[in-house]
Symmetry: C2
């Protein structure tokens, strides 16, 4: 990972954002910029260089992991160490403008920092500068993402081995989690969704103690984190003898998903991709059962920019990695969702998820 | 769970905080107050009642789960729905004071909300009112916490079955995760720490692909979430034939832990509990190797108030549940930590964690 190059790029954004420095507090942004993987710290970046502040728990780890930044271990609170550093370095700089990541920095932390700093340093709300850079994955990142996606996909093969009527949803999730960790995943990228029976109509139905029943779909939505990067995938299987309704709904969602994937190319807006999926389902009379957006970026976080949602104007660019995951949900009955991760290429996109999308009954 | 009683108690705090209403945005606080377990929503609480706002993904789930509040499903963003609701209801109220949870609300969301609201509604930074109430667990909560702690403890028995030289740290963590989910845990309360060899000197060394080696400790720090409530426990075992040094360090940490537990009683400050552990280790010449604080509250979150740390003045009260987890860490060599959860009672405390703390070599 070329951390100095990322920091350099960010430094170039500071001037146009009218900032003299940026305090990066969002942990995935910190990991992206300097490699720190712990749970407490702040990265201060300005013209003079980068300083990473953490607490005593991460002394050894920070010195091992952090690249392209000096490491300072705070004796007390991290923000206090940041303030002391700034006071020493910037004491003669009137109107020195320090950006705070507005999407992450809390009101309370701003007050704390403001109370600790001299009036000469002005705190400014900074836009999501690092997130914007993170949308475009570099070659190192794409490699890690592919590795995570491929590991993640093996969990579904594992799920199919145990998924049958009478087995608890949680047992399926447990088997998948075991396989993930055994193969080296750091953790699951989110709590595994194994939603069977009427629960499959809940778009976010985490695995419960409910035994899997025949006569409905099971939505399996899962992912891993491997070397920091997330995978995200959904497959939906029918349990028992498939009904005509079930096949029709499945085919409609699959057509919507494939159509949206075809719409993914540089220069298209994410809103157009969302609309491509929505249009198919509307034509099939299912528009109002597709209750969420079509997808989202994936990388160091399971949900990151861009949002692939209705009306969004963000332009797709090569190197972006997004999910395409339309679904339809009939409350009290069942639901279907099909999700792949795709990487935007020079001419279109590459589907990263290797798993078959054929209608499957178990 | 008596959600209306909790909301009533919070309502009583509003006047003393000089607020007309509070917008609760921190998800564990929302779960505590109205039972919602999803990942997006805001609870607006004022004299007139409580309204829970969520997005379309959680329509069914919110209607099933939320108690003591009206449910509004936002057509667009949750904050927009909140603003529209307030505009309709509070349009004639000049200087109506809406509290935002300052420890959680971001600068960007405050700006968004502020732009959507009429000037008559004033946004105020509210202290951690809900967290303060959450420190004292009620009988329902203590029951759930005990269930989580007991389930969590069985994972260590599982770990001991697989933990031996040559087995990867991640395999131990995988086996524990499987057992947790099989038994109905929603998820692990944090990524399992299985830190062997020199990695045991990293207080936060997540399970890696490293095979377990003889001649060092393995720190096992783990917990589950069961029905929303977290467990947190650490046991440290030696691998191979124990050295004199290892036994001495272990005994010192155990004495510090037992001494701190003895100091837990209503009316003591959390700082005194921290100092009790620290004093034992100082006397043994190990003070500077105890690099973190002694503990923290546990409940709906793995880390919540109070912080059991140096100099903290919070008074212990019956119903508080905290960890007691001193440790010593020798960088490059190994580390030891022993952690139980304890509940403050009328006269002292009850140790909830049932696992033996005898020195163990595998």
């Amino acid at each position: 990972m070329n951390f100095p190059a990322r920091q350099k790029k960010l430094r170039q954004h500071l001037a146009s954002a009218r900032l003299d420095g940026l305090l990066v507090s969002h942990l995935p942004n910190i990991r992206y910029l300097c490699g720190f993987t712990g749970s407490a710290g702040s990265l201060l970046l300005d013209e003079a260089g980068s300083v990473f502040f953490t607490d005593v728990r991460y002394d050894t780890q920070a010195h091992e992991e952090v690249k392209g930044a000096k490491v300072v271990v705070a004796k007390k609170a991290v923000l206090q160490a940041v303030a002391e550093w700034l006071k020493k370095r910037q004491r003669r700089a009137r109107g020195w403008r320090l950006g705070l990541e507005a999407e992450h920095f809390t009101l309370a932390d701003k007050k704390r920092l403001s109370d600790l700093l001299p009036a000469a340093i002005r705190l400014k709300e900074a836009p999501a500068l690092v997130e914007k850079d993170r949308m475009i994955k570099d070659a190192d990142e794409l490699e890690r993402i592919c590795a995570a996606v491929n590991l993640g996909a093996t969990l579904f093969d594992q799920a199919l081995k145990v998924l049958k009527p009478g087995v608890k949803e949680s047992e399926v999730a447990a088997a998948m989690g075991y396989t993930a960790r055994e193969q080296g995943a750091e953790e699951m990228s989110f709590p595994t969704i194994i939603a069977s029976g009427a629960r499959s109509a809940l778009p976010h139905g985490r695995a419960s103690q409910q035994p899997i029943q025949s006569g409905a779909f099971v939505v399996c939505d899962f992912g891993v984190i491997l070397e920091g990067y997330c995978s995200d995938q959904t497959r939906t299987v029918w349990v028992g003898a498939a009904t005509h309704d079930a096949r029709q709904a499945y085919e409609a969602v699959l057509e919507a998903q494939l159509t949206a994937i075809k719409a993914v190319r540089p220069g298209a807006t994410v809103g157009e991709v969302d609309e491509a999926a929505r249009k198919v389902l509307r034509r099939r009379g299912l528009g109002r059962y597709f209750t969420h957006s079509t997808g989202h970026g994936v990388g160091l976080e399971i949900h990151e920019s861009p949002r692939v949602a209705r009306g969004q104007k963000e332009l797709l660019e090569p190197g972006m990695v997004i999910t395409i995951e339309p679904g339809v949900y009939f409350p009290g009955k069942w639901g279907v969702r099909i999700e792949d991760m795709v990487a935007v290429t020079a001419n279109g996109c590459e589907v990263l998820t290797p798993t078959s999308k054929d209608f499957t009954a178990v």
